[in-house]
């Protein structure tokens, strides 16, 4: 058995040099030739470090303190630096997470692709050029000749990741390590890139070690899955088996943390919507010069929307669709070029009386919990600051309210005295939510509030958010690119494309019977896990034919309710 393995890792232990803390605690796994293996885990699980150690690329502060790594039967610890370099690239390729920084911005694409080939293969420049052009064509570049003479910044993130893939696959490695290869990409592009990766590697018999936090994504493409938690492998098995019968509680937790649909709520119609936007236009970069007026780039082309009291409306779209701009304009963080925003029936203009009322009643939760909290303030002070401008509230009432809200978000006790850097990402986002709801606002804008969080933490924060929304009854504009999350929280969904509303409807209508082609493309890009009859989980794409026994609609909520 061991003879046939391409890569075998035994008892690998990685230690932080200065604190003697183990970050990878003696793990063993192997990859057979041509096999696609996924390593799944949350941030801090050691999955990236383990994969980097395979190429001898662990960061300087991390030491390998035990274990052997054999690649094609050779112990890589015994290899000379020269032999190791020959291995890298030629036999083991790596695709990194961030396509924006993994290509050298000052080098032509052609030169960059040529570099590896020239180093590892003895070919004439003409032969190399032919190979490169072939490969660029294979990864779907429309104009390979032109691409050779272009710089990375001339391509989108998805295209860059294709080029990165091309540069790695050019050398026909025996093993490809893909570290969160599509996490930085749009949902739409993700699927294309992953399918291309699988297609290319299958065609050449390259084994793939795919590292991701996204279990559904990994499950879709891998033969085998390794689940890591806190530096240890908690479960390992064939993808189908693992989904059908997860043995480890942590794997089950990961599976149940996947977003799921809850039964639709009834939102009563109200005479006056809480927030109403009429023909909102935003342009960037427009400038009123001395003599001429330059018109800028129009990012929102006349948006109309209205949100009822207690309603959660999700704003969905790919990057560049204008959803964040719309949220910021409604929050009053940027001045719209045209149009009107009405709150509780009153038009709001900065400085007017309605504006102050709106300010007290409209709050926002930001995407990045690491930059949305002032690092020099304690949690208590951060939350209390939101009450500063609330009229007719005594200091004691404020203290009481802050304590109450912190308890509500699960940060009671001495958390009020701590500073943001002492908290985890999920806890920070709880603080941000506490700060938004402490005023009892009528309307909350949440801009990608969970996209920076790990899967299980995300599920907890979403539950908390839904709970608070139910209890305090604020309306919410929930901005997200993650359709899974949207499916779980939204009453109504608005799909945006290129600064316009492409489709709008109730959650069930949009998810089950999308009308607009863009919505259908968005939906088809995400794999979903559905529960099967045999007590397990099965994965499917939304555009696949739904089998009759678990159709798209009614059976799923109950199925999820009993899972885990």
């Amino acid at each position: 058995m061991a003879k046939t393995e391409l890569l075998s890792v035994e008892g690998l232990r990685l230690t932080v040099a200065h604190s003697q803390m183990d970050v990878v605690k003696g793990i063993s796994f192997s990859v057979a030739p041509g096999e696609i293996v996924g390593i799944v885990g949350e941030s801090g699980s050691g999955k990236t470090l383990a994969a980097r150690a395979v190429m001898g690329l662990e960061p300087p502060a991390i030491r390998r303190t035990a274990g052997t790594i054999r690649f094609e039967g050779r112990d890589i610890a015994q290899l000379s630096p020269g032999d190791l370099r020959k291995l890298r690239g030629a036999r083991v390729g790596m695709v990194f997470q961030e396509p924006m920084t993994s290509l050298n911005p000052s080098m032509l694409i052609g030169r960059q692709l040529d570099e590896g080939l020239a180093l590892h293969r003895k070919l004439s420049p003409e032969e190399r050029r032919t190979l490169i052009l072939d490969m660029l064509r294979r990864v779907g570049l429309k104009d390979p000749e032109g691409a050779l003479q272009s710089y990375p910044h001339q391509f989108s993130g998805g295209m860059r990741q294709r080029i990165m893939l091309a540069s790695v696959m050019l050398l026909q490695p025996a093993l490809l390590i893909a570290d969160e290869p599509t996490t930085a990409l749009d949902a739409l592009v993700q699927r294309d890139v992953l399918e291309l990766m699988v297609e290319l590697t299958r065609a050449r018999g390259t084994a793939v070690l795919m590292i991701s936090h996204d279990l559904a994504m990994v499950a879709r493409y891998t033969d085998r899955i390794i689940v890591m938690q806190k530096g240890e492998i908690v479960e390992e098995g064939a993808t189908q088996d693992l989904l059908r019968e997860p043995k480890d509680p942590y794997t089950r937790k990961l599976l149940t943390a996947m977003p799921h649909r809850l039964p639709a709520r009834h939102i009563p119609d109200a005479a006056v919507p809480i927030v109403e936007v009429r023909n909102l236009v935003v342009e960037y970069g427009g400038r009123q010069g001395f003599l001429r007026k330059e018109s800028g780039k129009r990012v929102l082309h006349g948006i109309d929307l209205s949100i009822k009291p207690r309603e959660v409306v999700a704003l969905v779209g790919g990057s560049g669709s204008g959803k964040t701009t719309l949220g910021r304009a409604i929050a009053g963080l940027l001045n719209p070029t045209g149009g009107e925003i009405r709150f509780a029936g009153r038009s709001i203009v900065p400085g007017s009386e309605g504006w102050n009322d709106y300010r007290l009643n409209c709050q926002m939760v930001f995407q990045d919990p690491y930059s949305s909290l002032d690092p020099r303030m304690t949690i208590g002070a951060l939350v209390r600051e939101a009450l500063r401008l609330v009229p007719n509230m005594s200091s004691r009432e404020k203290t009481e309210r802050v304590r109450e809200v912190l308890n509500e978000v699960g940060l009671g006790g001495d958390y009020a005295e701590r500073y943001p850097h002492e908290l985890s990402g999920g806890q920070r986002q709880r603080v941000a939510i506490a700060r938004a709801v402490v005023r009892r606002p009528a309307f909350v804008i949440a801009d990608e509030p969970v996209s920076a969080l790990d899967v299980t933490v995300r599920a907890q924060v979403l539950d908390l958010f839904a709970d608070l929304q139910e209890r305090h009854g604020f309306s919410c504009l929930f901005i997200s690119h993650d359709l899974g999350v949207v499916e779980q929280v939204a009453d109504r969904v608005i799909v945006m494309q290129d600064g316009r509303i492409a489709e709008e409807g109730t959650r069930d209508a949009v998810f089950d019977a999308p009308q607009h082609p863009y919505t259908r493309r968005l939906l088809s890009a995400i794999p979903i896990l559905v529960r099967t009859e045999q007590d397990g989980v099965r994965l499917r794409w939304r555009d696949e034919e739904a089998s009759p026994d678990h159709g798209a609609g009614a059976s799923r909520p109950e199925a999820y309710a009993s899972l885990g």
Partner: protein, 271 residues
């Protein structure tokens, strides 16, 4: 609690000694630093005059201590002035942006283009050489670099989501600036002010050396160094001790500045 790095301890110790002798120099010195005693001209270092005497028979140690008091006081006031003015300017320019920022910064960059010492020389020629003239001149010369650093910090801070969060809460611009932006400028400012203290001390010594500092007979390290030149053959200690004072103090300040930077910059932590 981990012990500070050795260079931080060394830097701190040197700066501590300088400040102590400056304090002492203002209140008490072994001899009167200004008292002329021709009977004891150019005495080499010995048991009575620990660091020797100068051409007028004045005790070098006493003069060095008195000079430390003058230099430290001038440098402190100068750094305070430059930091205050520069911060006000930088925060304002960084927060309002647009044309105001461009004009202010253009002016700022023009000032930055002159070496600080040259600028101070020119200003002193107009103001006249006295203690407060020096503080004004050096303060003006060092304000632009503070303004630059603060403006840059403010520009990056104001894009942070916590500043936006403050706006969403309805806080006024002034409140946001005072509550969220200024406190976050403190770390880079501390580092800058520390190293600036060293530059100012050096500039002040240089001005004194050129005869544009605190007017004699009041001692400064710079003018002691300058007057020692004529006696370098007979009394080498006259030059060595003030020179050592200047270079050791600068070394101490730089070590301390580096240690502060490591401590305050989270990117330098760990690893």
């Amino acid at each position: 609690m981990k012990l500070p790095a050795p260079n931080a301890i060394l830097g701190g110790a040197i700066v501590g000694i300088v400040i102590l002798s400056a304090l002492s120099g203002a209140l008490w010195t072994p001899f009167d630093p200004l008292k002329i005693n021709f009977a004891a001209r150019l005495q080499p270092p010995g048991p009575v005059y620990l660091l020797g005497t100068d051409e007028f028979g004045r005790d070098v140690l006493s003069r060095l201590m008195a000079a430390a008091a003058t230099s430290v006081w001038i440098s402190l006031l100068t750094v305070t002035a430059a930091v205050t003015a520069g911060t006000a300017l930088g925060v304002f320019a960084g927060y309002v942006r647009g044309w105001t920022d461009r004009i202010l910064m253009a002016f700022n960059d023009a000032l930055l283009a002159f070496p600080g010492i040259l600028l101070a020389l020119g200003l002193l020629a107009v103001i006249g050489a006295n203690k407060y003239g020096i503080i004004l001149a050096l303060g003006l010369a060092y304000t632009p670099s503070v303004a630059r650093v603060v403006r840059g910090t403010v520009l990056s801070l104001r894009e942070k989501e916590f500043v936006e969060a403050s706006r969403v809460m309805g806080n006024s611009e002034v409140f946001t600036m005072a509550r969220h932006i200024l406190p976050n400028c403190v770390a880079p400012l501390t580092v800058l002010a520390t190293s600036m203290f060293g530059w100012v001390l050096l500039s002040e010594s240089a001005l004194s050396f050129l005869g544009l500092g605190v007017p004699p007979p009041a001692p400064t390290w710079g003018n002691m160094l300058a007057s020692s030149r004529s006696f370098i053959a007979q009394a080498v200690w006259l030059g060595i001790f003030p020179g050592l004072c200047i270079s050791l103090t600068l070394l101490g300040i730089n070590l301390l500045g580096d240690a502060l930077r490591d401590k305050l910059d989270p990117r330098m932590r760990g690893v």
